[in-house]
């Protein structure tokens, strides 16, 4: 058998998962990981924790050089792919250098969306997505600094919590409401309450019309005419796949790179995984983006296995996240909307700040949201992923989510063993 050369562009979670998978299948194949950043792999997920001083910067790296040696993988840092030529099976780097591959994985991740608001050039765009962003932010930070954050997603909330812990004042402008993609209005309100108690200011349902400099302060004018002033303006309006270099390559790009169930693009031997890929949705089967770490790992694994010559199919991504803030915890798994035909059970204890919500379809769990309920999110995910019939135990699952989810999981595992 001849050996193959696998080229992985991007050293994030998807790229590293593919590397692990390929190496576990093939001992001989050549593997090369190319990263546009000039540092070892890290995850943007950790940036808010760096900010709050949870770990030292030196502990950030997912793996070290030694790891790549052990995996017999060539690592090229600070190298940017500017073009892909699938017909020639080549990538072209900045500077014109070309490299051949047998299989290619595009795992270039995402970049923050730059808001189209007046005065953006004057103030300068500042996102919170890369290590460089973090370093620049901490260089500027002083105690008592006032940060204007635009957006209310997980990155915005994580950033806000990190900044508060560092003694900064946080003002957030959220176009609809915080964590809209993960939690319903009531749950969102409970989470917001914790942030407000920490001194954050959250303005919901408003957009920023204009930003500008006023002395050494930055001023943001909202759609209702009111204005906010701060020392720094950070935009966290979500991310968009990093795909601009694929123009003219013939690789099909919709909002992200369109991939089939094997994570392959429309071009032979070219795969995509992670934030950059538009892959199958677990519930609908439709293609869509899902820029979260668990999906990146899962997709990277499947793509890697297929690149190494095995045949694996992607089950589809499920929206999910966990979020810990100021001694509280929240998690959201699966569908959060109240679609037709969905049965929703909900329970809220405002005084205790506790919230539980379960969504069912055809007697199966399809979504769950918890605030300050100490469930095993992974076990809840297990119930959803395995499409377990919950049937008459729905109410009990709402009352005792920890015990009932563990029981259903254990029962299914043991029956799976033929017991």
């Amino acid at each position: 058998m001849t050996t193959k050369k696998h080229l992985i562009v991007g050293s994030g979670a998807a790229g590293l998962a593919a590397l692990r998978e390929i190496r576990s299948i093939s001992d001989e194949d050549e593997i090369k990981v190319v990263s546009m950043e000039d540092c070892l792999p890290y995850s943007p997920t950790t940036l808010p924790y760096l900010l709050s001083g949870k770990i030292e910067e030196s502990k950030l790296w997912i793996v070290d050089e030694e790891y790549f040696k052990k995996m017999r993988c060539q690592l090229a840092l600070g190298k940017r792919v500017v073009e892909v030529a699938p017909e020639q099976k080549e990538v072209i780097y900045e500077g014109g250098e070309r490299e051949r591959y047998d299989t290619l994985l595009i795992a270039t991740g995402s970049e923050p969306i730059v808001p189209l608001i007046e005065g953006m050039e004057e103030v300068g765009f500042f996102g919170f997505h890369t290590l460089q962003d973090y370093q620049e932010l901490t260089r500027r930070l002083e105690r008592g600094y006032v940060a204007l954050i635009y957006g209310g997603g997980l990155v915005a909330m994580g950033l806000a919590s990190g900044l508060i812990k560092r003694g900064c004042k946080v003002k957030m402008v959220v176009r609809s409401r915080i964590l809209r993609l993960y939690f319903d209005t009531d749950a969102g309100a409970l989470i917001a309450r914790v942030f407000l108690a920490q001194g954050a200011e959250i303005i919901s349902g408003r957009e920023i019309k204009r930003v500008g400099k006023r002395g050494d302060k930055i001023e943001a004018v909202l759609t209702d005419g009111s204005s906010l002033s701060g020392d720094i303006f950070i935009s966290c309006l979500g991310t968009t796949p990093r795909v601009s270099f694929l123009q003219g390559s013939g690789i099909e790009v919709n909002s992200g790179i369109v991939v089939d169930d094997s994570l392959r693009t429309n071009k032979e031997d070219v795969y995509a995984a992670g934030d950059v890929a538009e892959a199958k949705d677990f519930f609908t089967g439709q293609r869509g983006l899902n820029a979260i770490l668990p999906s990146a790992v899962e997709q990277g694994k499947i793509a890697g296995a297929n690149m190494a010559g095995e045949r694996h199919e992607y089950e589809g991504w499920i929206s999910m996240n966990v979020f810990h803030f100021f001694g509280s915890g929240a998690c959201s798994i699966g569908l959060t909307g109240a679609d037709e035909g969905m049965e929703v059970l909900k329970e809220e204890d405002k005084d205790e700040g506790r919230f539980k919500k379960l969504s069912f379809q055809d007697g199966r769990l399809v979504g769950a949201e918890f605030v300050n309920v100490d469930v095993d999110p992974g076990v809840i995910l297990y119930l959803i992923k395995n499409r377990l019939k919950i049937g008459k135990h729905k109410e009990l699952l709402l009352q005792k989510p920890v015990e009932v989810s563990r029981w259903l999981m254990v029962r299914n595992e043991r029956e799976g063993d033929g017991l």
Binding site: Y42, T46, Y49, E56, I62, H324, D374, L381, H393, V410
Partner: protein, 425 residues
């Protein structure tokens, strides 16, 4: 190679409201990394704890690489200096084995008490939790593989695995003895002496006595022979050697018939089984008598060490081989291996290990050992499966009527009751 010692949760439910393991864990580490799950509404009482997965999802997802599987002991551990407390690991673990600590704001999980005996297993009064040292099996995989890589055995024959493990554990200081028959130890890197089925025990006796006379009692005389040689034609010298307590290690590879010569019935062939000499037709319904149960017969000879084993329980087999190796210094050691024979049992070749396991799980072939005559079960089956589970995979039993199967079940039950009585006395 990771030594995969494992915390085993037996498939029992726990007594209501028992928290012994949780409390033991708390005493050790403050926060319990094992969770009791009591759900009286459905009568479910059990525990969840980290499985120490071979490909841990928690480690795959950790955004700082803080979670890893320890290469020497197989434990999945968290490097607390690297953990940011994002909780993503709790989101992907399907087994409820990793948790968030709100005080430290970091994840935590079972570290299996590192190299010590896990406290939870030690504290469990009901045998639900135990600590399996499959570590022992893996240790021997560092040793030389003394058996040739090729095998002349039938497809799916588990005797090769049994013989390979036997030689790994016994090492080079051994002389093997063999007879005509299914002989997996035929080609190996240790000395081997061919004898006959009728005289193997006396041949071993002679060799072992000579070795002791010349001061080479470090060399073990061991055999790996079939049930025909053991229970029928070679029984007299075996009984004699056992009675005298000769320093030999006798392994009976019991596939329940003379398989090598064409599936003729032996005295260990079970009741009702088809063989080429116990036909199934109008006048004959397979073997007409119950199979002889050799292990207890050997126990009654006052043999130093007697044990039963199968390859489905490899760690159990390895521990028994180690004990047998030690016991030969004081007297005779007898190991009775139950070895499914796909050819003779008319069973699928890919079901051998499953058959070995089912033989134990149905109590058809209980795992026990007796050191200096004291018998104890080494693997207790909580809810024995009906014998049908074992027989339905074998063509040699396919003719059995419900009544005939019940007769066989009765033999199995009575035999097991006897073993249990011996174990408790």
């Amino acid at each position: 190679m990771a030594f995969n010692d494992t915390l085993v949760i037996r498939r029992l439910t726990c007594p209501e409201d028992c928290r012994a393991c949780v409390e033991a864990c708390m005493n050790k580490r403050g926060l319990p990394a094992i969770k009791a799950v009591h759900l009286p509404e459905v009568g479910f009482h059990s525990i969840v704890v980290c499985n120490q997965c071979s490909n841990p999802k928690c480690a795959e997802i950790c955004p700082t690489g803080a979670i890893s599987k320890n290469e020497t002991n197989g434990t999945v551990t968290i490097d607390s200096d690297k953990c940011v407390g994002c909780g993503l690991c709790t989101l992907v673990c399907p087994y409820g084995g990793i948790y968030y600590d709100y005080t430290q704001e970091k994840s935590f999980k079972c570290d299996r008490c590192y190299e010590e005996e896990p406290q939870c297993a030690a504290a469990c009064p009901y045998g639900v939790l135990s600590f399996a040292r499959s570590h022992q099996v893996y240790l021997h995989f560092h040793d030389e593989d003394l058996l040739a890589s090729a095998t002349g055995l039938c497809a799916g024959c588990p005797a090769e695995l049994a013989a390979r493990v036997m030689l790994r554990v016994l090492g080079r200081k051994v002389i093997t003895f063999r007879t005509p028959g299914c002989q997996p130890i035929f080609i190996s890197r240790v000395s081997s002496i061919p004898t006959l089925m009728t005289n193997i025990a006396s041949s071993m006796t002679g060799a072992s006595r000579y070795l002791r006379k010349i001061g080479r009692d470090d060399v073990i005389c061991a055999c790996f022979v079939g049930d025909g040689a053991t229970a029928d034609v070679g029984f007299q010298p075996l009984s004699g050697a056992a009675g005298r307590g000769e320093h030999i290690l006798y392994i009976c590879n019991d596939n329940e018939a003379y398989m090598n010569t064409g599936i003729q019935s032996s005295s260990t062939t079970p009741l009702g089984a088809w063989t080429t000499t116990t036909w199934v037709g109008k006048r004959s319904r397979g073997k007409g008598e119950a199979g002889k149960y050799m292990p207890l017969i050997m126990l009654m000879h006052n043999v130093s060490y007697v044990a039963t084993a199968t390859v489905a329980y490899l760690e159990d087999y390895v521990l028994k081989l180690e004990k047998a190796k030690e016991a030969v210094k004081h007297g005779m050691a007898y190991l009775h291996l139950h070895t499914p024979c796909p050819t003779g049992w008319r069973a699928p070749a890919d079901k051998s290990i499953e058959l070995s396991r089912l033989a134990v799980e149905t109590n058809y072939f209980p795992l026990w050992e007796a050191e200096d005559g004291r018998l104890h079960l080494t693997h207790r089956v909580d809810k024995p499966k009906p014998l049908k589970e074992l027989t339905k995979l074998q063509g040699r039993f396919s003719h059995l009527t419900k009544e005939e199967l019940e007769q066989l079940q009765q033999i199995v039950d009575e035999r097991f009751a006897l073993i249990e009585r011996l174990a408790s006395s």
